[in-house]
């Protein structure tokens, strides 16, 4: 084919760039997420919704919450278990899950997700 040298070189360089993340991380397994519940969370026994639901839906739920609280002024959430919660990441969720590094960050770091919530919403101070 025409310009075989250039084309093959280009393909090789392209592949190297494309697969760079793989080469870079070879031999380094990411630390498995190990979210730890605080004593307060353990005592509460249940979150706003069941664990399975929260695992898969907490992002959507928080997104809906921030829309409803700020734009519609609907600040209270009636969970499926009948309890009423004040919709707030900072004062409700993180009241129980008060360690961002030991809880939230565990899965987020593993998944390489960086939600910008905490740019504004204050994460509770962590000791040590």
């Amino acid at each position: 084919m025409y310009d075989r040298g250039k084309i093959v070189t280009g393909i090789v360089i392209g592949l190297l760039l494309f697969l760079f993340p793989v080469f870079y991380n070879v031999g380094r397994a990411a630390k498995e997420p190990d979210p730890v519940l605080t004593d307060k969370a353990k005592q509460a026994k249940e979150c706003v919704e069941p664990k399975a639901f929260m695992k898969t839906e907490h992002m959507k739920m928080l997104d809906e919450w921030r829309q409803e609280v700020v734009r519609d002024n609907l600040r209270y959430y009636k969970s499926t278990s009948g309890k009423t919660y004040y919709k707030s990441l900072q004062t409700t969720c993180m009241d129980c899950h008060s360690s961002k590094t030991k809880f939230c960050d565990q899965c987020h770091n593993y998944m390489a997700v960086a939600p910008y919530c905490w740019d504004c919403h204050i994460a509770p101070k962590e000791n040590g």
Partner: protein, 267 residues
């Protein structure tokens, strides 16, 4: 949604009518749990028009400073330390600078000398809400001109549109404000800070109203001199604020622009 039974509703309605101020003190008399659920219903009633009246004769320098401190403390508004990037939701200006259309070389001494407390007027016809391309600022049904920090793209068109200079922009990260000027930042762990790149301003303490509390500045002022700042519903003709406005002469900032400001200065 939560269900409110008839008894709770009648309790709130009755007490609200009695105290003439949208359910705030009424709810404080109910048990906290019921109050929260019932509160939801009460504060989202349509047709309200929140307004504020400042009795200039009663507000002195000390009270005004306390108001500013209460607001900026509650909402984690840092002191940036320079007027280029400053953030202020409520602040003081002299008579000439507060009411530029009312120049009066021979104005009464007691007004020439004093400062006035300025904040967002939560206009009835706000040009900022017209201007915002994403509706990140909009006028709620209860009259509050609200900010949605999640949606603001930081275009600052609202700042150009506001005739009152009520809006501030986060030119940098507010959490990086000089520590020497903000030793206990953030001062309120219940309220978020903002991030860089969004506009902010007074929101008539929407979060506090939802919990049945008066705006921070009003509470601070009335603690020192009761009646110096009145916050209430301008639509309710026998509300405290309406009664005060009927009895005393008041002015507003730049009313000729048709914005319909809802902050009144009682002279």
């Amino acid at each position: 949604m939560m269900a409110m039974d008839r008894r709770q509703f009648l309790k709130i309605a009755g007490l609200s009518a009695l105290l003439g101020l949208g359910g705030k003190t009424a709810l404080q008399l109910l048990a906290p749990g019921e109050a929260e659920a019932a509160l939801e219903q009460a504060t989202t009633i349509a047709g309200k028009k929140w307004g504020m009246a400042l009795d200039v004769t009663l507000l002195d320098e000390e009270i005004m400073s306390k108001c500013i401190q209460a607001c900026h403390t509650y909402y984690n508004v840092p002191n940036i330390g320079n007027s280029k990037e400053e953030l202020k939701w409520i602040w003081k200006e002299t008579y000439d600078h507060s009411f530029p259309g009312q120049e009066n070389e021979y104005q009464a001494d007691k007004f020439k000398a004093r400062n006035f407390l300025l904040l967002c007027n939560h206009c009835t016809n706000p040009p900022c809400c017209r201007a915002c391309p994403t509706k990140a600022t909009w006028k709620r049904e209860d009259g509050i001109v609200m900010m949605d920090m999640h949606r603001c793209i930081g275009c600052r068109f609202c700042m150009a549109a506001c005739p009152y200079g009520a809006r501030s922009f986060n030119w940098g990260d507010p959490r990086l404000a000089p520590k020497a000027l903000n030793p206990n930042f953030p001062t309120n762990l219940e309220i978020p800070t903002r991030s860089k790149g969004v506009v902010e301003k007074c929101q008539f303490c929407a979060e506090r109203l939802a919990k049945g509390q008066m705006p921070a500045c009003v509470e601070a002022a009335n603690q020192i001199k009761p009646g110096s700042m009145v916050f209430g519903d301008l639509e309710v003709s026998d509300s405290k604020i309406r009664k005060l406005l009927r009895a005393r002469y008041s002015i507003r900032r730049k009313p000729e622009l048709g914005t319909g400001p809802n902050v009144y200065y009682i002279l």
